[in-house]
Amino acid sequence: MSDEQSLGALLREQGISRRGFLKFCGAMASLMALPGSMVPAIAAALDKALRPSVIWLSFQECTGCTESLTRSHSPTLEGLILNAISLDYHHTLQAASGEAAEAAREAAMKQFFGKYLLIVDGSIPTKDGGVYSTIAGVSNLDMLHEAAKGAAAIVAVGTCAAFGGLPHANPNPTGAVAVSDIIRDKPIINVSGCPPIPVVITGVLAHYLTFGTLPELDDLGRPKAFYGESIHDRCYRRPFYDQGKFAKTFDDEGARNGWCLFELGCKGPTTFNACATTKWNQGTSFPIESGHGCLGCSEPNFWDAGSFYHALSTPITPVGRAAAVAAAAGIVGGAAIAMHNRHVKAAARSGHQTVTVNDLEQASGETK
């Protein structure tokens, strides 16, 4: 249960020194793309912050988002932030089950009405009265309506909660929709990704704890600090793109040399996320660094945006020429291509296509 103990007092009780706390705040500021000069202010605010009550609802999902968050090895920033909140309901993580679990949710909703933070992962099925996903006999649709009433704000964690995600993919048999399709009268922050990067989830919580407000959002409701730039613009392979050096298959010389994966269907230019800089698995790497193009998992309808390997991202103009234009015009050229690719992506989405092994072979044959 939430109490009146401040975060600073709680951390000092756990034996964390003021220097340790300052180091933690510095790392959080760097994570939230805030200037280092703000660290003392962040430390002062976090020190006094009271533990907010958090209710986490898991709807039509695979638990990958929770896995992403909890598989980070402790002690980490994520661990510290999780300790800093009072997680009053999370049916995968809590010890209580059955009626006791639901009673804990109802008690927290009543005690902290208007103040709790509601986190949702998973989409919400709306077809046939929302019967396709229920918890304790209550449909996800009804539970979301009820829990949203007393929420100070809602964080939609993962692409399913943010944009509908995989359940929403064609033909969407359950009528799955995003949180923002149902709740219109609460601030909603979308932390998309399949799954989202763990520190992005905790970064949003840290921002809320520090400033008591939601961070600045982009046009899709995502925090700009993490989704402000495309994977492509932050990719370490970007210089190869600018030089027109592309891998044509997954095992050619270009692939071995670490050249740009654009022609192999990389969705980096149309995908906005922090993978290229924050990376995965304790900063080990991210998909492109492992030799696979970006799937675009933090964007709406990524599953229906054509094949992951097909020429979706290929501009109508030959890539070499487009890249030369981009290199000459710098960021403006890159932005023009991104705009163009968004258009291509939309076209591919409307003519949904599936991919087979034959398609893959054909595609690699075409690009040879």
Partner: protein
Amino acid sequence: MSGNAAPLLHEIAALLDRLALTGEGGSVQLNGLPLQPGDYEALQEALGEGEVSAEIQALGPSLIRETALHGVWWATHRNALQEVVAESIEVTRCPALLQTPAEDVAEAARILRERLSVATKGEHDV
């Protein structure tokens, strides 16, 4: 020098100018930048090794070293599992993390007086 090392060095030079003129420096967060292979080493080589090196044990080790360029510090912060949680180049006369927090100074005085009073009490008891 290729890649992103050169522009970062220009930024550090500008921060040094500001530190010299106004007393206010700044920092460059390395872990949020798309450094290319070789950039990191190029930065280290350009900045060199200085006179001061300090290790802090707080939520894991932090290593803060002054580079051969006075006022330019390289800070690497790790967690208890030795993973890098933040890395930055600080342009300052002394990094904030090396200074003792004011609250800790007050607390230290209180703790020392407590110890003294216990010791004095012990002497009287004898």
